[in-house]
């Protein structure tokens, strides 16, 4: 069965610093991959997604992610973090060839120090 691992439960960065959130997946082929953000009391908002093609994908709010097949990874990056980026971030996958569900990781809580 497929799975998603987010190794970092909490990350703290200073405002203006760069950010990288890690995501590794386990699946027998290349899945569809997603990053979502969840602010307190809010639903999940889609930041970006990868289906195929260019392995570097751009998303909203200045985020990008890079798919690396050899490492089974899909890490999220941002060159300069803003205080408003403090939230919980979830990586998710959907299997290719169909499937009705997204499989989520356990999330990374991002704290931004001013």
């Amino acid at each position: 069965a497929q799975s998603v691992t987010q190794p970092d439960i909490h990350i703290t960065v200073s405002e203006g610093a760069s950010l990288e959130l890690r995501c590794n997946y386990s699946y027998g082929a290349t899945p569809y991959l997603f990053w979502y953000v969840q602010s307190p009391g809010q639903g999940l908002q889609l930041l970006l997604k990868y289906f195929s093609g260019d392995t570097l994908v751009q998303g909203i709010k200045g985020f990008e992610a890079e798919f690396k097949r050899s490492q089974s990874s899909f890490n999220l990056r941002k060159p300069s973090v803003h205080w408003s980026d403090a939230a919980e971030y979830f990586c998710a996958l959907r299997v290719t060839g169909g499937g009705n569900k997204l499989t989520f990781g356990t999330g990374t809580q991002l704290k931004v120090e001013l």
Binding site: V4, Y32, Y36, G41, Q42, G43, L44, Q45, L46, K49, F51, F90, A92, R94, G98, G99, N100, K101, L102, T103, F104, G105, T106, G107
Partner: protein, 114 residues
């Protein structure tokens, strides 16, 4: 409406009570999903509707959980004889197209069973 709307936002139930959680998807969206998010965890898939048809209920944890979408729009997730382990945030998502690739999430209903 502008987004996926869930009600109530918060629900406290005594153990053994039945609860009903409502989801109003974005108008015209054919797909509707329910997820369960326990504290400190990522969302876990419960069930999927395409219009009024429940195509996948593989994630429902027990026969105490029941979901319906009788007219292909509003959906209700019902939990009978609630137990403490049912305490979680229940997220609803909808999508204009079949499947989860373009899903928009609601803010969720936080259920606390005491």
């Amino acid at each position: 409406g502008a987004g996926v709307s869930q009600s109530p936002r918060y629900k406290v139930a005594k153990r053994g009570q039945d609860v009903a959680l409502r989801c109003d998807p974005i108008s015209g969206h054919v797909s509707l999903f329910w997820y369960q998010q326990a504290l400190g965890q990522g969302p876990e898939f419960l069930t999927y509707f395409q219009n009024e048809a429940q195509l996948d209920k593989s994630g429902l944890p027990s026969d105490r959980f029941f979901a319906e979408r009788p007219e292909g729009s509003v959906s209700t997730l019902k939990i009978q004889r609630t137990q403490q382990e049912d305490s979680a945030v229940y997220l609803c998502a909808s999508s204009l197209v079949p499947g989860p690739l373009e899903a928009f999430f609601g803010q969720g209903t936080r259920l606390t069973v005491v």
